[in-house]
Symmetry: C2
Subunit: 238 residues, 2 copies
Amino acid sequence: MLKNFQEIAVETPVDKIIGQIRGLISSGQLNPGDRLPSERKLAEKLGVGRTHVRDAIAKLEFYGILKTLPQSGTIVEGIGITALEGLITDVLKLEKSEFVDLVETRALLETQAARTAAKRRTMEDIINMKNALDAYEAKVRNGLPAVAEDLLFHLTIAEAGRNTVLKSLMLIITPDIVKNFTKLDVCKDGRFYRSLEEHKVILKYIVNQKPELAAKAMEDHLQDVTDYSKTLKMEDNH
Amino acid sequence: MLKNFQEIAVETPVDKIIGQIRGLISSGQLNPGDRLPSERKLAEKLGVGRTHVRDAIAKLEFYGILKTLPQSGTIVEGIGITALEGLITDVLKLEKSEFVDLVETRALLETQAARTAAKRRTMEDIINMKNALDAYEAKVRNGLPAVAEDLLFHLTIAEAGRNTVLKSLMLIITPDIVKNFTKLDVCKDGRFYRSLEEHKVILKYIVNQKPELAAKAMEDHLQDVTDYSKTLKMEDNH
DNA sequence: GTTCAATTTTTGGTCAACCAATTTGTAGGA
DNA sequence: TCCTACAAATTGGTTGACCAAAAATTGAAC
């Protein structure tokens, strides 16, 4: 019963401040290029500690909304975006990611990574991918779990794709993927052997510079993994 | 001449600490689930202030590597990923995103968003997209810049796509897109009218539930915008 | 020998004071 | 009148101390 009251107060001070600053910007009181009030003034005005104000500014800086200049002030950098309803705060909730969304998005990114890797891979990239694949194979043949090695292979492909943004996004969702997969215990039985073969096919197409075939192979591979994890999930429920 | 010396010291304390923690994890001294040494201990061990340790932990928490439990400790959440060579530090450099990478990745995400939106859009989604489009049109017809309204339309499409992960990733790269586009002053002349027509086509296909046509329309639209910004860039260089 | 509760210790969260760099204001000289 | 040099005020950066909550420890009761 008392929990209801706590729920209200659950809005952390930082979120509260972010809301306030966003309000100032969207209401036009703060425009791009303007200087924010000093941290002290803000803290006093909002009735919170300066630490909270600093944390809030740090988060907004992360998203390119603000830019803080040492010993000078904090300025508004990002335009209008902040006016777009409550969207900004939503970014902070990537953890609630539905599993199916995660898999769908991962497939999208990885397929594209394989496609561009086939176009742009250098000799060095090929060596890196080969090494990652060998490390994966070694673990599998010894019957050891190889989730990390699996993902490392995929990330070297992203590396070969030569798209820093795409790679960054993959890195952002990777922890969530790992979390879900270890939960499902994908390690058991001979699943890994099939995965290994599929990895080899993907690498072959990338080496031979066949973008669409590489993309297709990656798509099929991820489809396999997804199907497999779904069967495991069903076993869980019986 | 003196700048060279500064360059060396440019490694901020936070980056240094991130490197140290990464070292601990990749060397196997810290495994997923383990508790990190307390902030105080780390600060003393590394010879820096506790604030820096907190900042570093906050950044790593942002990417799902660590998870801090209030009054309890900080644990390692992401598995093996951190063992993957210097990849983690690269995540933090999303701002150096090459413009071409950004555009390429945006196109990938938006195209997929349009495709799924055409499959899953509800009546409410249609209303939201229509409203966003109207707001855009109103600004354009008054000769006002409408970058924010433009992006809002795109984001409502992502919303209609019903993939929280995809939407989150789009939100992450949006500030960078805005930054680059306002820099190029895309606002002048009648470019917006053409954009408006393209938006209408995209919406039409989404409403009529034609996934592939919607995806193609979005792809063409973004290709147009990209080409246009390239011509502006060339004008800049003359 | 085991269990449970009280107490001590450790933890991350918060705050207020201090520091160095920057900016701003001002007075003096050309 | 304008410019320069210097000082005062303001800024974000950093530190150490304090707080409440969670863990770990201890010891008494059974």
